[in-house]
Every structure is written in C-alpha cells, then in structure tokens.
Subunit: 93 residues, 2 copies
C-alpha cells in the first residue's frame, strides 16, 4: 500500500468541501478512507438535518474512534488466541 | 463493556465544546473514546493554529478512518493466519 516513500496528494470531497489529503499511502487508499468519512457524515446529517457541520464531523470522529477501539480489542483478542496456541504447542512438544 | 442493554448518557468536552454522547457501552468506554477524539483535534490544532474547527474535526475523522482501515487489515491478517493454521492441523491429523 505504500508509495515508495513518496508523499501522495489527493483532492477529495468530504461533505461538500474540497480537501487536499497528503499521505504516504496509495491514492486508492486515501480515496477509500475519505469516502468512509464522507458517507458517515452524510448518514449523521440525514438523521440530524439541523446539526451544524462541525458537530457532524465531531460525531463522525467519535463513531470512528468507537469502531477503532472495538477493532483494536478484537485484534488483541485474536493475538491472545495465537499466543495461547503457541504456548500450548510448546507444552505438548 | 455493555451496560445490560440500557443507554448511557455521558457529558463530554471535545475541543472546548460540550457534547452529550448516548451509547450502549460503559461511561468509561465513552470517556476514553471522547478523549481520543479531543486529543487528536488538539494535536491537529497545534500544528495548524489557523485551521477552522470544522476542518480540524474532519481531519481527525480522516486520521481515525485511516487507522481503522489499517487495524481492520491487521485483524484480517491475523484471522487468515488462524484459518491457515486450522487447515494445516486438519491435513496433518
């Protein structure tokens, strides 16, 4: 996914505003990530049509941070399974 | 982490604004997630002192979506290792 260490600049539209995102990943990755934020903000707006844009963006960030915490916990859980498996294999050898 | 199906309401401060976050997780979890967003927005602000608040929040959301994509890929990678391990154990049985 990296781009040989070079920075990539991608113009994206998030909730009707243009942003230039600079990253070290592929433009496809940047577009995918931007689209996730755009979709989430549109979804929040649909359910709260009078909500100011800054609040919509903060709520999107909160949703993503919540999902990130959950995914980190799931990752840690799988890692523990693999570690336990390794230990029990060592014992049975 | 769940709260017996009851909704929890927690008042949090994110980048100087009060938000009432309603969720089905513990108040500790909501506070931790809110703090992650608050810290990230403050960090972005430190590096871009003239950036409007809405842009800071969108950039925070983009950072979190990027991290989430990466963590989901890492999770999928571990899951594949476990699946491969299971298959090879079946073959060797």
């Amino acid at each position: 996914m990296t781009n040989n260490g070079e920075k990539v600049r991608v113009k994206v539209d998030i909730f009707g505003q243009d942003y230039t995102v600079i990253g070290d990943k592929s433009s496809d990755h940047i577009l995918k990530v931007s689209q996730e934020v755009d979709n989430l903000m549109k979804k929040i707006h649909q359910n709260n049509t009078h909500m100011p844009q800054v609040k919509i963006a903060v709520l999107a960030a909160l949703n993503l941070a919540d999902e990130l915490t959950k995914t980190r916990e799931d990752y840690k859980w799988l890692l523990d399974i693999i570690e336990d498996e390794k230990k029990s294999n060592k014992v049975s050898e």
